[in-house]
Symmetry: C2
Subunit: 294 residues, 2 copies
C-alpha cells in the first residue's frame, strides 16, 4: 500500500530537481531569473506528477518520462504568468508571492512566459532525440499542442475573459473548465501514458479518468475560492466573485457542486477498474485532487 | 536561370495557402480572428521561403517541408504580436495596418501570440507523425526551440529592451542582432535543410551562409528605418532613433554600415560555393535581402 503523501513529496522533489536542470544557463539574466522565479514559486506540481503516475501505472520509470513531465509544468507555469498580467486577470499574488510581472515588470513577464512555453517544446524535442522516442515525442507534442492551444487552454482563457460579468449555463461552464484547466490535466496523464507505450484501450480509459478528475478538480477549486482564507490558498480568495467570473458553485450552489465533484471522482475511479494495472497511484491522486482544503 | 521575383511570388502564394489551412477552425472566434489577422496582414514570408529554398537546394520538394516552413512563420508572427504590445515596443502600426492589440485588445493579442507559438510546435509534431519524419521533427523542434528561446530570439528581445537609451558597442549590437533576428533566420534555412536530410558538411555551410545573411539583413533593416518613408515600409520610420535603440548605422555610420552589409553578403555567397549544389536560389534570396528598398 502506497502512502500517497509520501509519494507526492518524493515525486515533487524529483520534478523540482529536473525543472531546475532544464532551465537555460545562458541568455539574458533578467528573463532567466523571471522564469526560475515563477517556476520555483512553489505549486503542487500536480501536472508533472500526473504524468509520472500515468507512466508508472503502465510500468514506465520516472527517468524515461521526466522530460515530458517537466514540459507539462513549464506550459502550466507560462500560462499562470500570462494569466496574471495586467492585460488579463491583473493579479498581484500567486502561490503566496508577488506575481512575475510585479517583480520583473510586464515586458519581462510576457517574455518569460513565452520562453517557458518555447522551452517546453524544446525539451520534448530533445526527449525525442533519444533512441526509440522520436515517434512518441511527435505524438506527445501533438497532444500537448492541442491541449495548450486554441481548442484547449488558450481557448478556455478566452472564454473566461469573455464570460466576465455574464451568466453562463452549466454546459458553458463545463466547456470552459474542460478547456481552461481540464485539457492540460488530461494531457498530463495521456502524455505520460504515451511515453509508457500505452495501448489504445489504455489511452481511452485513462482519458476518461483524467477528464472526470479534471472537472472535479476545477469544481473544488471554485469552492475553495469561495470558502477558504487567502492565507491557506496563497492567493486572494473571492477573486472569482469580485470579477463576476462564472463558477460551478455560483450555478449549482455549493452543496450540489461538491456532490457533483464527488460523483465525478467516483466515475474517474470506475474508469480505472478496467485498466488491469495497479491503480492505487491514480486513485490516490484523484482523492487528493478532490478531497482537499487548499 | 530562375527569375527570383517570380520565385518569391510563387512561394509566397504556396506559403499563404498553407498558413490559411493550418489555422484552427474550432475554438473561440476572437482569438482565431486575431491569429489570422496578424498572420494574413502581409509580410514578405521571408522565413518560410528560406526554409523552402534551403530544402529545394538539397532536392527536397515543397510539400515535404511546407509544415516546417509554416512553423517558422507562425513563430515570427507571434513574436511580432508580442513585441508590439504596450508592455513592449508599444507599436500602433505593423505591415501597414493597426497592430493586433490595437484591433483585438491587449488580452486577446497576448493569447493570439501564445496560440501561434503553440500551433507552430503542434504543426511540427504533426509533421513528425508522418512516416520517416519523427526523428527529423525532433531535430527541427530542438533547433527551432533554441532559435526562438532565451539564447535566441527571446533573449535578443530582452537585450533590446535593456539597451534602450544606452550606447552599445559594435560587438553588443552584433550579439543582439544575431539573437533577435539572426537566430530565427538561420533556423529557417537549417530546419529546411534538416527536413531535406542534409549532411553535416552541408549544414555547416548553410549555417555560415544564413548567419552572414541574417546580420546583413538586420543592418539593412536599421538603415531603412533611418532612410525610408513610413509609406514605403508600412510601419513608422525613425522608431529606433525615437526610442534611442541601438542600431548598426548609429554605431558605424550609414556608409560603413552599408559596406559591412555588402561584405557579409559576399561572405554568405562564398559559403555556398563549397556546397556543390545549385545555389542560384539561395544567392538570389541573399541579394533580395540585402539590396532592397523596403
Amino acid at each position: 500500500m502506497i502512502e500517497i503523501d509520501q509519494y507526492l513529496a518524493q515525486k515533487k522533489e524529483i520534478v523540482n530537481r529536473a525543472l531546475k536542470e532544464c532551465l537555460p544557463d545562458t541568455g539574458p539574466k533578467a528573463v532567466r531569473e523571471a522564469m526560475s522565479y515563477s517556476l520555483e514559486a512553489g505549486g503542487k506540481r500536480l501536472r508533472p506528477i500526473l504524468t509520472l503516475a500515468g507512466a508508472e501505472t503502465l510500468s514506465c520509470d520516472d527517468h524515461d518520462v521526466i522530460d515530458v513531465a517537466c514540459a507539462l509544468e513549464l506550459v502550466h507555469t507560462y500560462s499562470l504568468i500570462h494569466d496574471d498580467l495586467p492585460a488579463m486577470d491583473d493579479s498581484d499574488l500567486r502561490r503566496g508571492k508577488p506575481t512575475c510581472h510585479k517583480v520583473y515588470g510586464d515586458a519581462v513577464a510576457v517574455l518569460a512566459g513565452d520562453a517557458l512555453l518555447t522551452l517546453a517544446f524544446e525539451l520534448l524535442s530533445r526527449y525525442g532525440l533519444k533512441p526509440g522516442r522520436a515517434e512518441k515525442a511527435a505524438r506527445i507534442g501533438s497532444e500537448l499542442g492541442k491541449a495548450a492551444g486554441v481548442t484547449g487552454m488558450i481557448g478556455g482563457q478566452v472564454l473566461d475573459l469573455e464570460a466576465e460579468g455574464r451568466d453562463l449555463t452549466l454546459l458553458e461552464i463545463e466547456t470552459l473548465s474542460a478547456m481552461k484547466t481540464g485539457a492540460l490535466l488530461k494531457a498530463s496523464v495521456i502524455c505520460g501514458a504515451i511515453a509508457a507505450d500505452a495501448g489504445s484501450k489504455e489511452l481511452e480509459l485513462l482519458d476518461r479518468y483524467a477528464s472526470k478528475i479534471g472537472t472535479a478538480f476545477q469544481i473544488i477549486d471554485d469552492l475553495l475560492d469561495v470558502e477558504s482564507s487567502a492565507e491557506a490558498l496563497g492567493k486572494p480568495t473571492g477573486a472569482d466573485q469580485d470579477r463576476f467570473k462564472p463558477t460551478f458553485p455560483a450555478v449549482l450552489g455549493p452543496d450540489e457542486a461538491r456532490s457533483r465533484a464527488e460523483s465525478l471522482y467516483n466515475e474517474a475511479i470506475m474508469a480505472l477498474t478496467d485498466l488491469n494495472r495497479p491503480v492505487e497511484l491514480l486513485t490516490g491522486l484523484a482523492k487528493k485532487m478532490v478531497f482537499r482544503s487548499k
